[in-house]
């Protein structure tokens, strides 16, 4: 899968992230003066946040070889945090999952305090970014949080899982009323008869060893 948080050491000639244009990556939003907190580590700042159509990228303003990126496929949630008990400054709180859905590794990594404890070495420095599960982005301009949150929503929506929970994009939706009143692909006049036939003949309704639908 997308692999979680990664270190970014290279930049484009313009100082921004190197974009994967083959994958249609483009910059959607740039937020200057942003601090970043990875897991339990202390805040790193100042930096610039680049929200692209594929990733979140934070690049340090001071250290040109220091940066981090996470693909939206790995960003399981993001939120506006204004709870000072959680973190003193208003910020974007995110969770990162670099593992496959089926992978139990995530739970194996975790202690009761969260996986982040194992990520820090004895100097308190992160040595395995892919195991960072929580990240905060702290803009100096707190009024930008609402817009930043929305940009993240929009770009996350651009990155559904490639396997797809559905067969193809663009097939859609049924309002509850449509579901109730339409028989999709069936004969309106013979609702009940069709249903009985369907139940008897449709292999999906067989017992036991039918395959579960993909999920």
């Amino acid at each position: 899968m997308a692999g979680g948080l990664v270190s970014v050491t290279e930049r484009s000639e313009h100082g921004g992230p190197c974009l994967d244009t083959a994958n249609e990556e483009s910059v959607a939003h740039i937020q200057p003066s942003v601090g970043i907190v990875l897991g339990e580590s202390s805040v790193q700042q100042p930096g610039t946040l680049y929200v692209t159509t594929r990733r979140l990228v934070w690049l340090s303003d001071d250290d040109l070889e220091c940066g981090y990126a996470v693909n939206f496929l790995s960003l399981t949630m993001h939120a506006i945090s204004r709870d000072q008990d959680a973190y003193p400054q208003p910020c974007i709180y995110t969770q990162i999952d670099g593992c496959d859905d089926e992978d139990e590794e995530y739970e194996e990594n975790g202690t009761d305090d969260g996986a982040d404890d194992e990520v820090l070495d004895n100097r308190g420095i992160i040595d395995d970014f892919s195991r960072v599960t929580e990240m905060r982005l702290i803009p100096t301009d707190a009024s930008s949080l609402d817009h930043l949150f929305q940009v993240l929503c929009d770009c996350a929506a651009l990155n559904p899982d490639p396997e797809g929970e559905q067969e193809g994009e663009g097939e859609w939706f049924f309002d509850q009323h449509e579901v109730m009143s339409n028989v999709i692909g069936g004969d309106h006049a013979n609702n009940h008869i069709d249903l009985a036939e369907l139940l008897m003949q449709d292999p999906r309704f067989e017992d036991a060893d039918e395959e579960e639908s993909e999920e």
Binding site: M77, I80, D83, E178, G186, L198
Partner: protein, 97 residues
């Protein structure tokens, strides 16, 4: 995935109600359902985390966006579900899938 379309149309009916979303990493988040999109990405408002022992730093957040692919299930409010309608809709959608 016929369940997808059904859930989407059903979730639209639940906007404004309190739901609890459990993620595949066991995190449970309770909040007011703000919106849901075609990928079942979920936006919640006024969220609080149900398991504060596991994720103490998250505590309460105002707006929250949850990626649809990591949702394990969504706990619906008891009065928000008409089971008969859901049964009928599931049967009909199964026929058409």
């Amino acid at each position: 995935m016929f369940r997808f379309r059904l859930f989407f149309s059903y979730f639209k009916e639940l906007v404004g109600k309190v739901v609890t979303v459990e993620l595949k990493n066991d995190l449970a988040i309770t909040g007011i359902l703000h919106s849901v999109d075609q990928y079942l990405n979920i936006k919640l408002e006024d969220t609080r985390v149900v398991d504060e022992a596991k994720y103490p730093h998250m505590l309460s957040v105002k707006n929250c966006f949850i990626r649809g692919s990591v949702v394990r299930y969504v706990q619906l409010p008891p009065d928000g579900v008409d089971v008969d309608i859901l049964h009928d809709a599931t049967r009909r959608e199964a026929r058409g899938a």
